[in-house]
């Protein structure tokens, strides 16, 4: 437990040296889980450094998700990193400003970020700047009720059952394909 806290402080100060004012906080959760809060504008640089630094080598991006706390500064994007070589786990949190729900995509660093970021976009409405293919993934393409995992989204959805059925039936075949896939198809 002590060792983890020391490691955490060490990492935070190293990051502080490389990226001025990037670190918002460093803490230990559940006894041994290292959690680092960083400024959301600097996520790409910090993650790039964490992935490629020889000392830390967090090479496996396990998860990208978001949390809606339902109160002030409520949105956070959360990354879970693991270093295969150093056998270390790290959680990175990036608080987002409510009026600007966007953050740089990390798809340039990890291929696994592609679908994970699409899911966060789909369910939370967070924009990932620089994502090559940011579209809904779990909800249907013509889903228009918003982003279901936000706290202000009612459990049963925004529309009535009738309207939901109507919209579901209203899908045309274009909704099942991407435009570039349909090139050459006669109208």
């Amino acid at each position: 437990m002590e060792a983890e806290a020391d490691e955490m402080d060490g990492l935070a100060s190293v990051l502080e040296r490389h990226f001025e004012l990037a670190v918002l906080g460093a803490e230990i959760q559940c006894g041994d889980q290292q959690v680092l809060s960083i400024k959301s504008e600097m996520n790409l640089g910090v993650l790039d450094w964490l992935k490629n630094s020889e000392e830390y080598a967090y090479d496996l991006l396990l998860d990208v998700t978001a949390v809606d706390y339902g109160r002030e500064n409520k949105f956070q994007v959360v990354y879970q990193l693991w270093s295969i070589q150093k056998k270390r786990l790290l959680r990175i949190k990036c608080p987002l400003a409510e009026e600007k729900l966007e953050i740089d995509s990390v798809t340039s660093l990890w291929g696994s970020a592609n679908w994970l970021e699409r899911e966060v976009f789909d369910l939370f409405g967070v924009q990932f700047v620089g994502h090559p293919d940011l579209r809904r993934i779990l909800m249907p393409k013509n889903y228009s009720e918003g982003h279901p995992l936000r706290k202000d989204f009612p459990l049963r959805g925004r529309y009535s059952r009738e309207k939901q059925t109507e919209i579901a039936l209203d899908q045309s075949y274009e909704d099942y394909y991407r435009p570039e896939q349909l090139r050459g198809v006669d109208d």
Binding site: C30, G31, D63, V67, S112, L155, S172, Y176, Q181, V185
Partner: protein, 402 residues
Amino acid sequence: MSSKQSNQLPRPDVDSGKMLVNIGPQHPATHGVLRLLCELDGETVLSVDPDIGYLHSSFEKLGEYRTWNQIIPLTDRMDYLAPLMYNCVYVMAVEKLMDLEVTERCKIVRVLCMEMERIFSHLLWLGTTAIDVGAFTPFLYAFQEREKIYSLHEAFTGARITTSATRVGGMMADLPEGWTDQLNDFVRTFPDTLNEIDTLLTRNGIHLGRTLDIGAISGSDAINAGFTGPNLRASGIDYDLRKDRPYYDYESYDFEVPIGTNGDCYDRYLVRMEEMRQSLKILEQALERLPEGPINVDDPRVSLPSKSDCMNDMESMIHHFKIVTEGIRVPPGDCYFAIEGSKGELGMYIVSDGGEKPIRWRIRPPSFVNLSVLPQLAEGHQVSDLIMINASLDIVLGEIDR
């Protein structure tokens, strides 16, 4: 009906020679409700666009409206091929956040459950994958063995698939009488079946031809793509949570982690076959270790007072009433806890504000991330190889869509 019903199907572009073909969502070879939108040039796959979400039930949202223990039934409905594993990892994450140590017997029972489920899930993968490459017999052998694990589920939990067997702080009940003997029988007889399937497939020319060098991925690419579990290990990366981030004393069990070299479909097959043998080894050791004693922890935060206490003193009755009506409370904070699932790193990320319901319950879905690599793996292969590659990833759509 609606006004937009001009539903003409897209006609193929005959001139370019490319074809747009849908495989699924209702197709046995996709192993679930998965739609693969393939662009083909003859038999060659130019691109694949997996379309998921057909089974989406928003479990994560539902979890935010349920008390901590009420979430457990949702977990086994995600991966119905290894339900007990999902039951276990969820409560283990909550216990970690609560800093709650379960009893020794409970730990070993959960290890038994998790390793049993690994075999259970790998067997389904083995049977259905063998069918995809044209071998029917292994499927029957595998499902006969799965049936034995189904009976074990049923004897322990009363259900064959929707087990909901764990509770925060323990299990819903102790193992029934004779259960360990039944499991022992399985552990004793299963290697024969496994060896038989082994002789049918491992050196089978057709199986080799269909899997060798198909869908290969290098170790560094596999890490970049987020592969975990047997898929990652087939590419030669030694990452197994039971060794690298051990939980429940896995470091004290004697077992090995099989590692592949080429990262192709054949190596993924070999790794899973060997994992079943290693799981049997762990099962044997765990059965030997299984101690007597209470299965549920005696901690007022999660456990109900005894019935006689409830009837005889006021505090116990209030305590009973509070736990039953409000549910348990989990201290504020967040926790990421993962186990080595049958399909890869199976993690639970839970955020609590100290209340009786979670703020956020996130499942780190191994199949979801593994499936996202499919387009990269299948490009340039034949359509029949696409089916094999998809099968070799061992996906379960219930967990991908959640």
